[in-house]
Amino acid sequence: MDDLLVDFIAETRETLETLSGEIVAWEAAPSDRTRLDVIFRFVHTVKGSCGFLNLPRLEKLSHAAEDVLADCRADRRQPDEALVTAVLAIIDRIAELTNALESGDSVSDHDDAALIAALAQGGGQKTQQDEHAAPTAVVQAQTARGISRSIRLPVDLLDRMMAGVSDMVLARNDLARRLRESGVDPAIDAAFERLSLCIGEMRDSITRTRMARIENLFSALPRMVRDLSAELGKQVTLEIDGGDVELDREMIEMIRDPLTHIVRNAIDHGIEMPADRVAAGKPAFGRLRVSARQAGNQIAIEAVDDGRGIDAERLVEKAIANGILTAEKAATMNAHAKLHLIFAAGLSTAKQVTSISGRGVGMDVVRANVERIGGIVEIDSKVGSGLRLSMKVPLTLTIIPALTVSAGGRQFAIPRSAIEELIRVSSASARLGELGGAKMVNIRGRRLPVVVLAPFLALESQCEEHELTMVVLKPAGGDHYALAVEEVNDHEELVVRPAAPALMACGVYAGTTLPDNSHPMLLLDPAGIAQAAGINTEDRMAEEVEQTIEEIADERAPTLLFRDLDGKERAIRLALVERIEEVSATFTSFSAGRMRLAQEGRIVPLMSCCTLPEAEKYRVLRMTDGTSNIAYAISEVVDIVPMDFMFERAIDPGLIAGVALVEGRPVEIIDSFWLFAEAQKEGTAPDRELLCLLAAGDDPWARQVLTPLLRSGGYRVIFPNTDGADQADVVVMCDEGTTEPPATADEVPVIRLTAHQDQAEPDLVYRYDRAGLLETLRTRTERRRRAR
């Protein structure tokens, strides 16, 4: 708010200065309409600002003056000398209070009422107002006027300064190069160094002048929300947070429209009518929270409402109806992809087109605008309970960390944010191949479509295929692909300017930049290249299918090589091995017809390829298939290698599924299926642990902190959408009851956790209440425990 106040003071003072002449002129000719208008506008502006800044005293004064002047303007009242004097007294008081605001002094308010009363019609007060107008002038003279430390500048001037400094930096670089080449006197070098440093500092401070608080953007929201909700008959409370985050002025302008649109959408489509909200069990007042925070060199701006959210299924229906999507394609989409349809062009979910939003242009434009400035838009919706839209934008438009690459003898820049890794085609982990005429690269088992930059840009390639370097890119809102370039040059912080429309039109450039060598360079747009090369549409599906096939074929899955008790080298898929541990022989016993390992209060079958030798300790692989646990005794671990599961099959089913070559050695592959089947056959009851479904999404706290606690408490933890999730004995949720529990078998108890200690109640457990949590779990699962 401080900034706004300073702005207000500066503005008011500025207007007062220009107004002083008008006031005198008005005094001479009270019927002068243009003068009246100027003064009216002034008090009107002051009144508006004061209401916003919460300065009730100034507001009251300006409001009173405004009323009287409005009467004059509407010819309801003739301005006479008494009225002019009274208005002038008020303007003087406004000036006085404004100065006091800045200097922090107080001005007595005992005669404010008298000043206002003086405005009232009738000559009776004339003497009274004369009395009061005089002391005012005296007080004003006493109030020391603080020295203002802020000035207002046209942005144009700042831009010119910025351009000037950029010129200077380039000239410096040029000079530096020439000095290096000619090998001058060290004294000159030192002097140049100093100059160079000054120029650098100057650039930094001028860059800072371009930064502004995001408050400038947020300050318009309260009014907008108020007007919109009034128009729509909705009730909305707006919370704003993080207004002190600083951002490039230009950037603020760039996100103004997207943010406005998001807020409009939230009120128009998101938040329901009060009656509907009450019917849905929500408070009548909808909540809209707009916040900004800095995360590294990005600014995250979020708008969260507690409205009805976006129904992804309805989006899909609509997209199909509008011909944007085919039903077959829709069937293959996941919930996230469906939700992202909101960004598709020509799709509006509003049932009716309203004057506020819902014309089918909107979210697609929002995303386009945000992506144009190198940002991303994310969406998260819970049907019935709200929507979160977040924009992440770079701190400044102008400087982007980039990688410079060469293709066809030219240099190009690629924004570093989109780059995942660099890999040479000649290296062992990348294999270049072809698929139906299109180039593909296989990087550690992941197949990616390839765009070779030089031919793509219709340039002549300057090197052989095997000399290419792959830049693995993950464009915002797209899928991975590899861009093959001839050379990777350097990481640079580049000052990027938007390119001319004619350049942007071809869709593969994001901007232009001028590196130190003074040769203009183009910044490539990874998403645009993917689109222009046609790899983000049909091929993306093909790639997904291929990945699925790969998963099924388990090509080159990490595999554990170990030496078995009989000395042979064997292999087992690492995914099955939970851990490898040493157990003391005292915990193993031959009981109930087989070797068993008793540990941590549980008994698991202990398998081995032959009879266990006499020893003090055994090394065992603890394996799980998701429901039952077994241990397999081994001699030692050899290695973990990626391995194709292509092998010669064993003649008879048994412990050994077959044999494969690993680095030239024959290695027997353990038939894990047989192993578990064997353990099962013996009648090992599935685990006695209860199954706890932890529905917390990707919440790291749940995964890292809660999971071990639950495990140590004797629960087996599974996550939603995994095998066996529907057989859970108890569901633990970490969302304080904002979402529906996932589908489970009937009558599964649900326990919810809260992060706030004071909210705890019987079914809402404070998440660090260890004893309470375990106790609740125990009591709620008592019945199922007995059923087992």
């Binding site: 950029s166 010129d167 380039l170 030219r410 001319a500 039109a505 203009p520 360079m521």
Partner: protein
């Protein structure tokens, strides 16, 4: 008040550019070509710290390609916030015509029709007034193609 015009030669024709849109006239050498763009974009050029988009004026009016000999004169214009260097064959003079711009009555080729916004008379010659905005815009070319 009459406006000033800069007389230049584009594709062999003397034409007038409204001087208000012209920032300066520079001699440029060394253009960085830009792949994949419309033919009327000759490339990029660094004017001090600013990157200019170089416009091939001949291509923009649909009259072949500019005869680039390693260096050429260019008119620097600022259109819609972007800096452009419009390659011209010759820069002649700045004139202040006595009569206002009139509508062109002749039937022009489509390329010229798109970029011109009238005719002025200079020393008895009728010269086309060329609108730099139309000259540099992508639409002008797309329609011409």
């Amino acid at each position: 008040m009459n406006h000033l015009y800069l007389i230049v030669t584009i594709a062999g024709h003397r034409v007038a550019l409204p001087a208000a849109t012209v920032e300066s006239v520079v001699e440029i050498d060394g253009i960085e070509p830009v792949p994949l763009v419309a033919p009327h974009v000759a490339g990029l050029f660094a004017l001090r710290s600013r990157v200019m988009t170089v416009i091939d004026s001949a291509a923009a009016v649909g009259a072949g390609r500019f005869d680039w000999q390693g260096q050429a004169e260019a008119v620097i214009a600022n259109c819609d916030g972007h800096g452009y260097a419009i390659l011209v064959e010759n820069v002649d003079d700045v004139v202040e015509p006595g009569v206002p711009v009139t509508q062109t009555r002749a039937v022009m080729s489509p390329g010229w029709a798109r970029v011109s916004c009238g005719t002025i008379e200079v020393d008895g010659d009728a010269l086309l007034v060329v609108d730099p905005d139309a000259l540099v815009s992508i639409n002008s070319f797309a329609k011409a193609a």
